[in-house]
């Protein structure tokens, strides 16, 4: 292996990433940071939870991403009467040409490269749990038979922070399976003016595929393997582990006061994995074949907050997990020296 090959691979990754961003930006106005975070999670092999009020482009982002990647895309609108079989698929009796009838598995909407689970908190916990195995193992088991999901498999779930009646809070175990959580804010005035102009014009902007249809999945897998090859020094791993430990109220060292007072449960080891994987993607985007601690710092606000379980006192004091993560990062930097 020569350095030139590594440089070419990095450049290829950066160009592909930038091309996808450009295509998504054609239809998604604003939300640049959110789109980048979603793409980082996609190439890191994780899933993303998007929180935002209705009508600010959550579904549009996912759809345009699928179109740019040229991958299969399914959408599930979660409702209270949605059943697990509606997600994973079910077996039906099928009569063959010879007249014999047999049970045939019909794939559910989860069998797609990109899955949009819209308003996931409206389904019952039982249905939500149906996504657990799919997200973690990239497979579903129906009637004792395990079916592998296509690769790459990327789940984008949305949460509606308003209209909380009749919703079911996502269990912590499921929240932990999302690599990142992205909060979409309202667009700014210039962005809103552009949205109004572009979406009401005679010709709507269209997303052009960046990857060829037949090779798209392979290319994405190749890029994901490249991400995994990025070097991580022990001091970076130590720093990521420190950050995870600092989110634990009973953790060692100088746990921030906000953590000890307001956090019930801290981040799991999956949080550390999310830090490292996300940092690897950011390192490639920076043209490096190794992770720097600054990459960890940049990833932490998206990778850690949704893994914290805060207590009532924090909610009463309007202290949100992102605020706590800011203090965790400061403590981590102090410990790093």
């Amino acid at each position: 292996m020569t350095p030139d090959v590594a440089v070419a691979a990095i450049e290829d990754f950066r160009e592909t990433f930038a091309a996808i961003r450009r295509q998504v930006a054609k239809v998604v106005i604003g939300h640049e940071a959110a789109v980048e975070t979603i793409l980082v999670a996609f190439f890191a092999g994780g899933h993303v939870l998007i929180e935002g009020v209705p009508g600010i482009g959550k579904t549009l982002i996912v759809r345009s991403l699928a179109e740019a990647l040229n991958l299969s895309f399914n959408r599930i609108q979660f409702t209270v009467d949605l059943m697990p079989a509606d997600i994973t698929g079910t077996r039906i009796i099928n009569e063959g040409p010879d007249g014999r009838r047999e049970l045939v598995f019909v794939e559910g909407p989860v069998f797609a490269h990109l899955l949009l689970a819209d308003e996931i908190n409206r389904a019952t916990p039982k249905t939500q749990s149906a996504l657990l195995e799919a997200m973690a193992e990239q497979q579903v088991t129906v009637a004792g038979t395990t079916h592998a999901l296509p690769s790459p498999f990327f789940v984008l779930a949305t949460l509606n922070p308003i209209e909380m009646e009749g919703t079911y809070q996502l269990p912590e175990a499921q929240l932990d399976r999302f690599l990142f959580k992205v909060v979409l804010e309202y667009p700014s005035r210039p962005e809103l003016e552009r949205i109004l102009g572009d979406t009401t014009a005679a010709e709507l902007p269209a997303v052009e595929p960046v990857l060829p249809r037949d090779r798209a999945a392979g290319r994405v897998e190749e890029l994901r393997r490249l991400v995994r090859r990025v070097l991580v020094a022990p001091h970076v791993e130590r720093y990521a582990a420190d950050l995870v430990r600092l989110t634990h109220p009973g953790g060692d060292g100088e746990v921030p006061e906000a953590v000890s007072r307001h956090v019930v449960y801290g981040a799991s080891p999956r949080g550390g994995q999310a830090l490292i994987l996300g940092a690897k993607v950011l390192a490639l985007l920076a043209g490096r074949g190794h992770v720097a601690v600054e990459d960890i710092d940049r990833v932490a606000p998206a990778a850690l907050p949704h893994r914290l379980v805060i207590n009532f006192a924090a909610e009463a004091a309007a202290i949100r997990p992102p605020d706590i993560i800011v203090q965790v990062l400061a403590a981590g930097r102090r410990r790093r020296g």
Binding site: M1, T2, P3, A6, V7, A9, I10, L226, R229, V230, L231, V232, A233, P234, H235, V236, A286, R288, G289, H290, V291, A292, V293, E294
Partner: protein
Amino acid sequence: MPRRSSLQSLDPIRQQLGRVRRRHNLHETQRGLYLVVGTLGMASTAVVLLALWGSAWGFAAGGAAAAGVAMLSVVFIARSVRRGLLGAARSAAWADRQAELEGRLVTLVEIGCRDPGPQEAFFWPLLLQENLQRLGSWRPERLVPRRLPRGALATALGAALALGTTLGLAPRLRPAPLAVGYLTEPAGRLAPMDLTPDRVLLAPAQGGSPASSEPGEASGGPRAGGGPSSLLARLQQRIREQVWGPAREPPGAASRSVEARAGRPARDAHATSDADTATDAGGERIPARASASSELGVAEAARAARLAQRANREAREARGQASLTERGKRADGEPESTGTDGAAAGAGTATAPDLFGRPTTLRTGEGGTFELALAAPGSGVTPTPAPPEGEPPPAAADERPTLAAGQWSEKPLTKMPVPAAYEPFVRRLFAHRADGEPR
């Protein structure tokens, strides 16, 4: 083989890293050393200044504070230097951060030490190449540009200069001496004009209370039992002796030496002292002057006074008996009284040994106490006014006589009915009489 060549290519990086570490550690060590020198120098300067011009309490408090601050500073500097010293493990991270290599160097060094070797890593050759290309950006001369820490060195030199200047100028900046006047009367009977702020007046104790030489008695002086420790006092005295010259005689030594040289009994010497001061009480009132620091304690002022008195006595002996006789006359030509105000002229030439109380056996810094009659700089006790004499002045006229008309009549109130037959007896019983007159 490829792994060996890959690790061998790390050698120039490791060698440069070692040079960076040595240069940085040398720089840090010098910085710490200079800062310690500077701190100690400044603290020493402060201690010397306090010892020379500070009171005993000031020296004790200020010296302790200076020593404490210096000690804390040294500890802080030592910790800072210890943190700043680079070990083999930290040097790569430090150089990486200083040269803004974005983790390239530290990643290379840390991963290069891992087992299995990094030759299988996809990005290892790229990382190695990037580090080799950036060798120049973290040369030792670039990361540690100066061999000498200028700021710390300037601090050390400045502190040394300050200390040297203090020690050099201190003998010239010795405080101006205070005049010491000797009085034969207790200060309570002096007029206020006798107590002026530019001199120290010494007089016998009021009521003839004997001077005490018992250690531990309350005196309130800097060397009293409750004062700073004798160690600090000795240190202050020693610093003064080193800077300002040899030590003064201990209390009592001057008078004893005077007696020894005069060969006269103490009572004779006391009379001489009275004669001297009697002249002064009618004239200038300052027969002898001795240099004494305005900040010195009462005991030191007394010692200085004895020294000055001895010098004056030698001068008077040189002037002879004629001078003594001439000084025994008042300004109006009347012969000087030999009453309680002083002894006769020429009654003696030696210093009275009990002038300032009994001589003590205490030495400077031993922490004992002794009682001195009076040594007050500047202000003193206002004399008690004499009782009025002669007829009292007539009462002033009533300014508003009209008010007298509205005044209640002063009629005696009968407290108890007395039979008329008893009236003469009662009147005689309660009549006013002079003391001792029979009823």
